[in-house]
């Protein structure tokens, strides 16, 4: 494995146990992510985007039925680590996360600076309070927060500032991988654009690797080097951002792109009729087949992942036999 691959996920599965049966939230997802690159995971709500990163970060609820696969982080399979070892060595030290709506879950009675310093003090026994505060001031300026906000309480900050604070909290331990779960969807347009500028700068200057989860493909394009499309617990397409917007191959990706309204260009908008399948008993064949306009006989079987060139990988029967289009 080449050295600059930070994250290599192979056949990751995460199924939840519920009264109605097993929910296959993540079902056999594989991907690689190189250092300094950003992967945007897009898809409709309920397609397993958040479950995927929770499985990678091992932030799991109790009702787990299946949790399997391999997650190589810097070449080491961290799935073999015990929970305690993972907590001590990986989570927040090497991989940090900004959970969805985390800007609203800052502790209201603790000053911002103390909250941001917490992961530092927890993960590093030798760290003194003063040193930690120095580092907090450093990340504060990285995310573009004025230093006189250090001693404020969360309610004294606006939404955009609180979101920056949660990103500062993720960056404070200087992790190699940062997962951002819908970082900007609750923010206003201008605040959102400013935040994307901040993230872009961090990416360029510090070389941090990001996984960005979003349902907004327009925003994703600001940061993403690679795009992964998830549908019903599976990763149906993964490719470089360069090719994705104009040359997505999976019929679901095409439909998804056709449903995105654009400001600068006039196009006919389409929607995807029907609904995603239940993840409790998903179809055995292609999970998108029922809504697909290019469906054919083969789709009743589970499609293979096909490389259609320049690293674009599509899980679809249309491109079977070495990327050749059979039923276009």
């Amino acid at each position: 494995m080449s050295n600059d691959v930070v994250l290599d996920v192979r056949d990751l599965k995460l199924h939840f146990r519920t009264r109605k049966g097993s929910v296959q939230a993540v079902d056999g997802v594989s991907f690689q992510l190189k250092r300094g690159r950003t992967l945007a995971v897009v898809g409709e709500s309920g397609c397993g985007k958040t479950s995927l990163v929770k499985a990678i970060m091992r932030l799991l609820p109790r009702n787990i039925e299946v949790y399997s696969g391999e997650v190589y982080f810097n070449g080491v399979d961290v799935m073999k680590y015990s929970d305690e070892q993972f907590r001590k060595e990986i989570r927040w030290k090497k991989m940090a996360m900004v959970p969805q709506a985390s800007m609203n879950s800052l502790n209201p009675v603790i000053r911002i600076a103390d909250q941001i310093a917490e992961p530092l003090l927890l993960h590093n026994k030798d760290m003194t309070k003063e040193k930690a505060m120095e580092r907090v001031a450093e990340v504060f300026s990285i995310v573009g927060l004025p230093l006189d906000f250090l001693q404020r309480y969360p309610f004294e900050l606006s939404g955009g500032m609180r979101q920056r604070a949660t990103i500062a909290m993720a960056l404070v331990t200087n992790p190699e991988l940062v997962v951002l779960d819908e970082p900007s969807s609750a923010l206003d347009l201008l605040t959102q654009a400013n935040l994307m500028n901040v993230l872009k700068r961090i990416k360029h200057e510090m070389g941090t690797t990001f996984i960005l989860i979003t349902h907004d493909i327009g925003t994703a394009s600001e940061l993403a080097d690679e795009i992964a499309v998830m549908y019903a617990g599976e990763m149906v397409e993964r490719c470089s951002a360069e090719y994705f917007y104009d040359d997505a191959r999976h019929p679901y990706s095409n439909k998804l792109m056709a449903s995105v309204p654009t400001l600068r260009e006039d196009k006919e908008l389409q929607f995807i009729p029907g609904q995603p399948p239940s993840l409790i008993n998903p179809p055995t064949g292609c999970r998108f087949a029922e809504r697909c306009h290019k469906r054919f006989k083969k789709c009743a079987e589970h499609p293979p992942v096909v490389d259609v060139g320049h690293g674009q990988r599509v899980q679809c029967w249309l491109y079977d036999e070495e990327g050749e289009v059979k039923h276009a």
């Binding site: 709500s45 201008l190 309204p261």
Partner: protein, 344 residues
Amino acid sequence: MPSTALKMQPETRQAMPILAVEDLHTWFEIRRMGFFKAGDVRALDGVSFELYAGETVSIVGESGCGKSTLAKTILGLHKPTKGKIYFEGKDLSELDKHQLKEYRAKVGYIQQDPYGALPSFMTVERILKEPMIINGITDKDEQKRRIRQVLEEVKLAPIEDFLPKFPHMLSGGQQQRLVIARAMILQPRLLIADEPVSMLDASVRVEILQLLQKLQYDHNLAIIYITHDLSTVRYFSERIFSMYGAKIIEKAATKSLLKNPLHPYTQALFEATSDPDAENLKTFKDVPTGEPPSLLNPPPGCRFHPRCRKMIKGLCDVEIPPEFQVTEDQSTACWLYKDHAQGK
């Protein structure tokens, strides 16, 4: 009707706007310790416009700019501090209780969060019956006929399957369609849609917008579409009003605005909206930093001036800009265009 409002209309329009809003102010009083007045939050500060039957107007702006207050004031949920609202030529403040009820039946409201807007303990059938019971449509057959008709219109089929369902049994898109059905059941003349698609997935959004468009066409409805998302606007409305700091700062035909936004704030909104494009990776967005103004203590002069790069010292920070008519279908409240004729 005020005479100034009539002069502005192109001849193709019907003579009377369905809705006319004149210098509308909605202020909320802030009290300290329960009864000392500590000031007003000027949520709506001098808004005027007209709306004609069969027309869609989009109101764009960020949260806190007063767009929802505008909607709620028009709906009669807030009492305006100053200014008038005319609906079909009648002044709302002069209506009695009974007439007000009639007015409310003619104005439909589509909320942002469909799940929050639907009572979780009522079935679909009951939810749709409720407005009819309140408005005195008691005939059982008429009720059934109307329920069937709106459900068909919003495409919740097969109807029989949906009637006994509770809101949590519907998907997000279906819930929003039920909200639309409820707004339509009293056969309104005006629909106010407050961020109707912002909680929905992209693939469903288009479906809901197309549905609204079809309803508008079929019923010659006027629609006020409130959104923060400029990119959906072009597919949906004829005119755009851009709001900032409790005021409308730009009014324009959608086509003109998308070609050439005038106000620096509208330009910033435009710049901040990303279309999917790999080129975005390479550039930074040129957007103003800072926060929208406090409406308790708005800055003097133009409310955007503290964030505006084209600010003219001694003018923008002193005097409130009036509306300038820059082109035939585009006007803006910005001192940069002071050489153009002043609008009304």
